[in-house]
């Protein structure tokens, strides 16, 4: 029996060798192709960030020493993180100059902040809380706590490796979660059920952004058995009454954290974090002011990945501020020199709803093939006011407002205008030619507005592409299918010829 099993494993190992060799060969060819298509200067920039990222990984591993193996066994998804430079290479295809550098830098800063967050898991379990993605980490960090955003890995891993969430999605579905719900809470629940997520001292959650996400915390609560605090953002929130209610909620949350964790509120520290947040906001608005002019000096991942990671997970963090300063500087230099981010910026688009983590390559593919530049997106675009840091009361009010009016939250609450008006506002503000709706099949809230959106776009003569996909599960709509949808739209609706023939990204 045992011998049979060993023989079977050996056979399957040897059977895989030709495939592995083929994969290695293809990858090598791909790397050579990608690198030789870079100019010498771009190659040096790329190589610099490549080395910095690997140095960051090496530092994390060396510092943890042999204990890293234990951590790897506990959090096996960390292996996927080793593909970060591959992601950088994919995103740099066809890009050059400061645009390329802005993307390299964004990925590098994601890596360094993530490494810092991983150290929280390794060394600070005694001060660790877990939090849902829509609860800003500012307050807990000001209390001296370490924050792990539960959804962060489910969202990040597919950027690195398209199929990395599948086993977690399957785990949740096999445990009884409805298969039609959003794959983000499903993957997160799968990670929790498999025991691949840390268990903190307490948990923060909310009623945002969607029903499935909110309901998933009943399960988390049962699995972890730790105290949970849930923020309840009202449906109608553009008023003082709602701001007062959420401010009370946040104060209750602080009391909850003080009761269940060693964290104590340090208002001075919260003020510093919020001032950092405000600085990022100021820089981001400056960046948007530059990209609204044709041709945009920076675009796509430099705009949305930087926001998605740094504003949501590391607001006010020195690395985040530094990144935004550098992005603004690079955009300004490009603008002054008259250098566009995309060589042939023919069409400017907004991406509405979450981007395509498992097929992020679609943006540089369409840039190169049709000259479509993604200028902004719904996860990034907001109209926040800065947080008034003059007193603890104003800070809490400001943070409450920021939560309620943040991307995703304001689009999934309140009347349809919250969602639709923002689309037309971005079209005007950024001088756009088309709207791309990332039609995530698990997001019923957005699905149910497509009919209205189509009619409104038709009235305003704005071309709209409703691109079907699933947020994290490429089995639902494949990357090839997604490209077909784009090509069909570009060729039949926009009547746009190809700039040149590109190989489809794998």
């Amino acid at each position: 029996m045992i011998l049979g099993d060993i023989a079977h494993r050996a056979r399957s190992f040897f059977n895989k060798i030709p495939y592995a060799a083929g994969y290695a060969l293809r990858s090598t060819r791909e790397i050579v192709h990608d690198m030789t298509s870079l100019s010498n200067k771009d190659f040096l920039v790329y190589a610099k960030y490549w080395l910095l990222i690997w140095a960051c990984i090496a530092k994390l591993v060396v510092k943890r020493g042999p204990g890293f193996v234990r951590e790897l066994a506990r959090y096996p998804w960390m292996l996927h993180l080793l593909r970060v430079t591959r992601l950088m290479r994919r995103l740099c295809r066809g890009r050059k100059g400061l645009y390329l550098e802005s993307i390299c830098m964004t990925i590098y800063t994601v890596s360094t902040t993530l490494a810092e967050n991983l150290e929280d898991l390794f060394y600070h379990q005694d001060r660790l809380i877990i939090s849902e993605e829509m609860v800003p980490p500012d307050i807990a960090r000001a209390m001296g706590l370490k924050v792990w955003i539960l959804e962060s890995m489910a969202l990040l891993l597919p950027f690195l490796s398209g199929e990395s969430d599948l086993k977690y999605i399957d785990e949740a579905e096999n445990a009884g979660v409805n298969p039609d719900s959003c794959s983000l809470p499903k993957a997160t629940m799968g990670m929790v059920l498999k025991g691949h997520m840390p268990k903190g001292l307490a948990m923060l959650s909310s009623n945002m952004p969607c029903d499935a996400g909110m309901a998933s915390y009943s399960l988390m609560e049962k699995v972890y058995g730790i105290p949970v605090y849930r923020i309840d953002a009202p449906y109608n929130f553009y008023n003082e009454r709602a701001e007062k209610l959420i401010a009370e909620d946040l104060l209750d949350m602080i009391a909850f954290l003080e009761k269940h964790t060693p964290g104590r509120m340090d208002w001075k520290r919260l003020k510093d974090i919020c001032e950092g947040r405000n600085r990022m906001l100021e820089l981001e608005l400056e960046l948007w002011d530059m990209i609204r002019i044709r041709p945009a000096p920076l675009a796509a991942e430099a705009v949305f990945l930087s926001h998605m990671w740094h504003v949501n997970l590391f607001p006010g963090h020195p690395t985040s501020i530094k990144l935004f300063e550098r992005l603004v500087e690079m955009a300004r230099r490009n603008q002054e020199a008259g250098v566009p981010a995309t060589e042939n910026e023919r069409f400017r688009a907004v991406l509405w709803n979450p981007p395509f983590p498992h097929f992020i390559d679609i943006f540089n593919y369409t840039e190169r093939t049709y000259g479509v530049t993604v200028i902004n997106d719904s996860m990034t675009f907001h109209r926040h006011e800065p947080v008034d840091t003059s007193s603890p009361d104003t800070i809490v009010h400001g943070l409450g407002r920021t939560i309620m009016q943040g991307p995703m939250v304001r689009h999934t609450r309140g009347p349809a205008e919250n969602y639709l008006d923002d689309i037309f506002r971005t079209v005007k503000q950024f001088d756009l030619d088309m709207v791309w709706v990332a039609n995530h099949v698990g997001c019923k809230s957005a699905e149910a507005l497509n009919g209205m959106l189509r009619e409104m776009c038709r009235e305003r003569k704005i071309p709209v592409l409703i691109l079907d996909y699933d947020l994290l599960d490429p089995r639902i709509v494949s990357s090839d299918n997604m490209i077909n949808q784009v090509e069909f739209f570009m060729e039949n609706v926009m009547r746009a010829g190809r700039l040149n023939q590109q190989d489809r990204p794998a």
Binding site: N236, A416, N450
Partner: protein, 378 residues
Amino acid sequence: MSTEEPRVIKVFEDLLETPQNRLVEQASQDGRIPIGYSCSFVPEALLMADRLFPVRLHAPGVAGTELADNYLSSLVCSYTRSILEFAMDDRYDLIRGWVTVPSCAHMQRFIDNLEYLKRPDFIHVIDAPRKVNESTLKWHEEELHMLADKLSSHFSVDMGKASLMKAIDEWNRFCVIMNRIGDLRKTPNPPITGSEFHRVVMASLASPKDLILPHIEAFYREIENRESTRKYRARLMVVGGHLHDPEFIRIIESQGGLVVADRFCTGSIPGLIPVHVNGDPIRALAEHTFEKTLCPRMMEDFDRRLNNILDTVKEYRVDGVVIEIIKFCDLWGVDSMPLVSALRKVGIPVLKLEREYRTTGEGQLRTRVQAFIESMGR
């Protein structure tokens, strides 16, 4: 199982044939104002003040949702699609006002599309919180005050304290009689089936209470002293979201199950409990809203939902629980997972069924229920 059936039940059956039944028509002709509402977070008693009366939005006999699918998409729950279809088809032409709660994303987008497509003269969204504490109760109380003021100014109806107290009294009378009927289901041989009881509940939710009350009382008189000779294999409890069509329960019962407890959105547990007023009636209605609902939208109520099922299982001597979920409902779809585990952990057999709003797939449903009852060794 015997086919004996109370005579009065036919009345309720007839009332469920159309979305606006003859009692709604009669009341409208008398100058009263029907207000369409959904879901259970809308306080019906508030909509019973003065000339107003509430009509629960339902779509009996819906055949397809082709029109609504263009707007809501086919990935949204079929309840919201069905009522939007009926609205687009002018099947709610008597309804003069709409009151809703964005209890879930589907309901929320139903409201958006209804407003966009039909532009009703009166539509109001109650911003019901998702957790209960002193601040949110106060918030909800203010929300109900706003609704009352808006109804009063739009329809020129009296929403004063006396008028509300009268409406609450009527609601309480309705609950008392319904609970008496419901209590008969605790007996070893209940005089009514689950599908008959559900017909009464649904017809009542879709009719002016004052006009349907005499029929309910007549029904109670007819069955109160009756002993059933029906044979059943297992006493079941149905748990879940919107369930409007009594046919679904009838199919379950055709396989030897007897549905003795209904803990779903349009069921009586704990939906039909009287309002206790101690001061401001609106405050009482705000508190009552959260007492009478056990929806997974309430973030902190998982244990309350679970304990309610466990208590009901004991009280009604339930042998097994059927959880019914409308396809694409994220709230029930996700929440049912820990719920099923928790119930199985304490030894309660559970059958989880995904369904459409209208009753379809009868053969499949029969097979699954039959297998479930057999798996219980009954």
